[in-house]
C-alpha cells in the first residue's frame, strides 16, 4: 500500500518511536509514588516536557501540558478562557476541532466571526483586522489548512492581535513538525499540537503549550499527585491542567518523535513534502479532467494537496485509488468551512498528504493510476 494520508496520521512511524512505545507499556505510574520505578517514569515525562518546551521555543517546561490530542488541547483553551458575551475570530479554514466547541460555546453566549483567507497574506491580515471588535477575547487560526495545505500568516496575525491586547491560539495540527514554531519569538499565546501527525508519535496524545498558564482556567479536575489534602484543583501548571494518570506510552512516543523530527529538521521535512506535491501538481495541472483549487505548492503551503476528478465524487476517486493500493482521504476532512471557501462542500475533495517517508516513486505511481482513471 502506498500511504498518502499522513495529514490524518503519519504512517509508518520511525523505528525509535515503535521502540519507545514497546518500552513504556510496562512502567510504574509517573508522578505518584516515591519509589524508584515511579520516579524513573516521572523523569521520562519531565524530560519530554523539557524537550517539547525547547522544541516550541519556551524555556519553562511547566508551560507544556500533555493532553489526549490536539482536539482536547483546543477545547481546553476555548472552554477555559471564554465566557458569555465574549467574541472570537477564527479563520474560515478551521477544523471542526475548533468549530464544534465554539458552536457549543455560542449556545452559552459566545459569538464568533470567520475571517476569510485571502489571495495573499495582506488580504488575510486585513480580513482578520476587520473581524475584530471590542468584545473579541480570542483569535484562533490554523497554521496550515488540513484540506488545502494553505499556510496562514499566523505570526503577522498574532502581532496584529497583540496590538489590541487579544491573545491568539494556533491550531498546529498540520504544521508541528514541518514548520518551526517558536512561541517566544512569535508571541503565540496557545499552541495546540497532536503527537501523531508531523511529530510521528502515537495517537491519543497531544500538547497544549501555554505562554501564561495563569490566564487559563482548568476544565478538568482530579488527582494530580500534589496538594492532595485540598479538594480544589492546584492553581499551578502543569498540575492545574493534568489530572489522572498520564499517557506514559504516548508521552514516550512523543519524546522519540520529537527526536526524529529534530534529527532531520522541520525545513528539510517540509521541503521534501512540498517537492513531492510540486511534482504531482505539475502532472495533475496538465490533465484536463483534474480540478485543482490552490496555487502550485510553495512557500505559502504545507504538505497537503487536494483535487477532484471531473464528474466523479471525491469518494469514488479515493475508492478507486484504494483498489489500486493507494491510501488517500476523500470527503470533507472535518472542515466544512474550508470546503465552502472553494465551493466543494457538496462533493468534498481528494486529499494527498505525503510524509518524510514518502518517495517520488509513490507520487509517480499515484499520477500513473490517476492518468489511467481519467482516460
Amino acid at each position: 500500500m502506498i500511504y498518502l494520508d499522513n495529514a490524518a496520521t503519519t504512517y509508518p512511524k520511525p523505528p525509535a518511536v515503535l521502540r519507545a512505545v514497546s518500552g513504556s507499556v510496562s512502567a510504574a505510574n509517573p508522578g505518584r509514588g516515591g519509589h524508584d520505578l515511579a520516579l524513573r517514569a516521572a523523569e521520562s515525562v519531565y524530560k519530554c516536557r523539557v524537550k517539547t518546551a525547547k522544541f516550541l521555543g519556551l524555556s519553562d517546561p511547566r508551560n507544556i501540558i500533555f493532553t489526549s490530542g490536539c482536539t482536547m488541547s483546543v477545547n481546553m483553551v476555548i472552554k477555559g478562557l471564554l465566557k458569555s458575551g465574549d467574541h472570537v475570530v477564527v479563520s474560515d479554514m478551521e477544523h471542526n476541532a475548533v468549530m464544534r466547541p465554539l458552536s457549543a460555546m455560542s449556545k452559552l453566549g459566545v459569538s464568533w466571526t470567520a475571517a476569510s483567507v485571502g489571495e495573499n497574506d495582506e488580504e488575510t491580515l486585513a480580513n482578520f483586522r476587520n473581524a475584530l471588535n471590542e468584545k473579541t477575547r480570542l483569535v484562533i487560526c490554523t497554521q496550515i489548512s488540513n484540506v488545502w495545505g494553505i499556510r496562514l500568516p499566523v505570526e503577522r496575525i498574532t502581532a496584529m492581535c497583540h496590538e489590541y491586547g487579544i491573545p491568539v491560539m494556533i491550531d498546529a495540527a498540520q504544521s508541528a513538525g514541518v514548520v518551526k514554531i517558536n512561541m517566544t519569538e512569535s508571541g503565540f499565546d496557545y499552541v495546540c499540537i497532536p503527537a501523531h501527525k508531523g511529530l510521528y508519535g502515537a495517537m491519543g496524545t497531544g500538547v497544549l503549550s501555554v505562554r501564561d498558564p495563569k490566564r487559563l482556567s482548568s476544565v478538568i479536575q482530579g488527582g494530580t499527585g500534589s496538594d492532595s489534602l485540598l479538594l480544589d484543583q492546584p492553581d499551578y501548571a502543569p498540575d492545574k491542567f493534568e489530572s489522572g494518570t498520564p499517557n506514559f506510552i504516548g508521552i514516550s512516543a512523543l519524546s522519540a518523535g520529537i527526536d526524529f523530527v529534530r534529527s532531520i529538521g522541520e525545513d528539510k521535512i517540509r521541503r521534501h513534502e512540498i517537492d513531492l506535491l510540486d511534482a504531482l501538481y505539475g502532472s495533475l495541472s496538465r490533465n484536463p479532467r483534474i480540478i485543482l483549487y490552490t496555487p502550485r505548492p510553495g512557500d505559502r503551503s504545507g504538505g497537503v494537496l487536494s483535487f477532484n476528478v471531473k464528474e466523479k465524487s471525491s469518494e469514488e476517486t479515493a475508492a478507486y485509488l484504494n483498489s489500486r493500493g493507494i491510501a488517500v482521504r476523500a470527503g470533507l476532512h472535518c472542515a466544512p468551512m474550508a470546503h465552502k471557501h472553494f465551493g466543494t462542500e457538496n462533493i468534498g475533495a481528494v486529499r494527498v498528504a505525503p510524509s518524510y517517508f514518502s518517495s517520488r516513486k509513490d507520487i509517480f505511481t499515484l499520477n500513473s493510476v490517476l492518468s489511467a482513471y481519467t482516460k
Partner: protein
C-alpha cells in the same frame, strides 16, 4: 541535619524543574519523596550544598516551594 537539607516542593514537575535550575547555578540536588509532607503527596529536593542559597535562588525564580 538531614531535614535541613530538604526543600519541600509543591509538585513533582516543580521539583524537577527546580533541580535543573539549581544545577545550572552550580547547586546539586536530587528529587525525593518528602517524609515530612503535610500536603498528602509531597515531593522535595535534597540539596547537596548551600541550602540557604538554594532557597534564595528558587524563591527569586518563583518556584512554589513549601519551605
Amino acid at each position: 541535619m538531614e531535614r535541613e537539607r530538604i526543600i519541600e516542593m509543591r509538585s513533582l514537575t516543580d521539583a524537577m524543574a527546580a533541580r535543573d535550575a539549581l544545577y545550572a547555578r552550580g547547586i546539586k540536588s536530587v528529587v525525593t519523596r518528602s517524609k515530612k509532607s503535610r500536603s498528602g503527596c509531597g515531593y522535595a529536593l535534597t540539596v547537596n550544598g548551600d541550602v540557604s542559597a538554594a532557597r534564595r535562588v528558587l524563591s527569586s525564580m518563583g518556584f512554589g516551594g513549601r519551605t
